[in-house]
């Protein structure tokens, strides 16, 4: 059993990074996630585990430090919030092309542009559909509690190294800033040089004499090889889609109408389900935990079981709704509801939207 603590989501993420044996964190301050680098600096992980914590000159520099340190076989992460994550897209495209493992957290705030420092879920498109150039995907995990902020760091590293790709922990200002009880795992040791060399033969550790030197690059000017590289990436993404979809269902067994919500919106929609059930409405909640790969099949199964309509609840003007609509493919009604600008919807207005937009009279 781990250690029980009361922590902010951002702090839990940082503490989990130290405990899971991360080798380095490279970041740049931005509200509402500066606690990550502040907490790490305060904990002095260089002395606790030897973990490197570096405040970079920009998010651009930070993600490129992550790219190369990840290419060198180390467990590295970064975190930021929306405008900073825009700057990270360059590095994320290189990371995808060169197949480098890493974890990054986006504690989303409102946009576009400098927007607001209040919570938002308006960067769903950016993180689930790409944002950098090229045909690529990142695994996107959506924590809905401080506990999951901590749990998804080791999970993120596991997936990142299993598939050699970036894993995004897509949080928001509410989950990052709120305090909850969290059970922290035992401290794990960082991998030694020998362990890294044995586990990750692709990692840049200095080529052994008499063996082929290693190159980590996203470039190949040979069209046939580049096409094959892209096909290889797609096969990998298919594999991820087959194996790694994660979601939670609440009161969906007999549901006729289902809220689809992730992160902080899922916390609110969960309350809306309780309120609806108290009124005798057969409502449930589908909470995607992976936003990519998306639980498309879970939605289709619900339709097969008789669900007539879905309300996608997001702190955005309607982004995840596109994936819900794709899953429904016209077989069930689906609409979006969400407040923006830093306003957080109440359970009552979410239930009201379900009644008005989906259930009807």
């Amino acid at each position: 059993m781990g250690e029980l603590k009361l922590m902010k989501g951002n702090e839990a993420l940082a503490e989990a990074a130290i405990r899971c044996g991360a080798d380095a964190y490279f970041g740049y301050p931005i509200t509402p996630q500066s606690e990550v680098i502040e907490y790490l600096s305060e904990q002095n992980p260089y002395e606790r585990t030897g973990m490197v914590v570096l405040q970079a000159e920009s998010e651009l520099a930070a993600i490129n430090m992550v790219y190369a340190a990840g290419a060198a076989g180390k467990r590295v992460m970064t975190s930021s919030s929306s405008p900073g994550v825009c700057l990270k897209q360059e590095g994320l495209a290189y990371i995808a092309g060169a197949e480098v493992p890493c974890v990054f957290a986006d504690v989303v705030r409102g946009g576009p542009g400098l927007g607001t420092i209040q919570p938002s879920q308006a960067d769903y498109f950016q993180n689930t559909k790409g944002g950098g150039n090229g045909d690529y995907r990142n695994i996107v995990l959506a924590p809905a509690s401080v506990q999951e902020m901590a749990d998804f760091v080791p999970l993120g590293f596991e997936l990142a190294f299993k598939y050699r790709m970036a894993v995004c922990i897509l949080s928001d200002g509410a989950i990052g800033q709120m305090m909850e009880k969290v059970v922290l795992p035992e401290q794990k040791a960082r991998l030694t040089e020998e362990e890294i060399k044995a586990k990750y033969p692709w990692a840049l550790t200095g080529r052994k004499r008499g063996t082929q030197h290693r190159v980590i690059t996203s470039l190949d000017l040979d069209s046939a090889r580049m096409e094959e590289h892209n096909r290889h990436l797609q096969r990998k993404y298919d594999e991820v889609t087959k194996n790694e979809v994660r979601y939670e269902m609440i009161d969906c067994d007999d549901a006729e109408y289902v809220f689809v919500a992730y992160g902080s919106s899922a916390r609110i929609a969960q309350k809306s389900v309780q309120l609806g059930r108290a009124e005798g409405l057969k409502v449930g909640l589908l909470r995607p935990i992976t936003l990519w790969p998306y639980p498309t099949q879970a939605i289709r199964n619900l339709i097969d079981k008789g669900v007539k309509g879905f309300l996608s609840v997001e702190l955005s003007c309607g982004q995840m709704i596109e994936d819900v609509l794709l899953a429904c493919n016209g077989r069930a009604k689906a609409e979006h509801f969400g407040r923006v600008g830093g306003i957080i919807h109440t359970p009552e207005e979410v239930l009201e939207a379900m009644k008005k937009q989906i259930i009807g009279e």
Partner: protein, 269 residues
């Protein structure tokens, strides 16, 4: 007297010069006479002499040297345009015992990557930075670089680089002497400007590059920075010979050769 055949000459005892073992068999894609090839050779020789090939990690830029990783028989990562210093920082921080170097052109290091360059130098990362200044964007077909000389014609300054319009309105700006700037930063240990247009220059350049790697191996901090004033004969639209002559007459007055800083001390001229 018996005639001497070629076979008689190709004998181990007659060997005076050979390709470094740390250069792969892949033919360089560089234009004949371009400085990139010479600089590659020097780096390979130095790494071989220092015996650190099994713990060296290089970072290649975006520019003509983007595929430097094909030519060096050491581990390599290819960086985004301008981010090689950030990449080198990332690697060196997690592998402090490895020998890490970045290799960049002037557009890469002094335009799009200026921020990463300055901050990497200012943090005093214990790395070696190689900077090939040919005063132009070679790879993309000869556009103006931050280091392009005043009056120099490029694809984007077809009438010559003009820092300001005749009425004083800002235009192309001035040649950026980034190496002088970096020498001012407390994080740089060794800053030098070299060239490879002649045998003597190559010898000096090799000494400097060797020192820039030795410093890294012997110390815990401080950037070791080597600028190489080089030619881009293709985009300068000159023969290699003419380009090297032009370089001496025009580039060196603006980018004079020699050490700017040694052991954290600025060198008074």
């Amino acid at each position: 007297m018996a005639e001497i055949t070629l076979q008689d000459i190709i004998q181990p005892e007659n060997l005076v010069y050979e390709k470094s073992k740390l250069l792969t068999e892949k033919p360089f894609h560089y234009c004949p006479g371009c400085g990139h090839g010479t600089v590659h050779r020097i780096i390979a020789e130095v790494l071989e002499e220092l015996g650190v090939d099994d713990r060296t990690i290089g970072v290649s830029p975006v520019g003509c040297a983007v595929m430097a990783y094909d030519y060096f028989d050491v581990d390599f990562v290819e960086a985004a345009h301008g981010r090689a210093p950030a990449c080198a920082t990332g690697i060196k921080r997690v592998w402090p015992d490895k020998v890490v170097f970045s290799y960049q052109g002037d557009g890469d290091l002094a335009a799009i990557g200026t921020c990463e360059t300055i901050h990497t130098c200012n943090r005093g990362e214990n790395i070696t930075m190689i900077f090939v200044n040919n005063g132009i964007y070679g790879m993309t077909g000869g556009q103006m670089a931050p280091t392009t000389l005043v009056g120099m014609k490029t694809a984007t300054t077809p009438y010559g680089r003009m820092p300001q319009w005749p009425d004083g309105t800002p235009n192309n700006g001035f040649p950026l002497q980034i190496t002088q700037l970096l020498a001012q930063l407390p994080g740089t240990r060794y800053v030098t400007r070299q060239a490879v247009f002649s045998a003597a220059a190559v010898r000096n350049c090799k000494k400097a590059i060797k020192k820039a790697f030795q410093n890294q191996i012997e110390n815990k901090n401080g950037v070791n920075f080597v600028e190489i004033v080089s030619n881009c004969n293709s985009n300068w639209k000159m023969s290699a010979v003419d380009a090297n002559k032009w370089l001496q007459d025009n580039m060196l007055p603006v980018y004079p050769l020699g050490d700017l800083k040694d052991n954290f001390e600025l060198i008074k001229k």
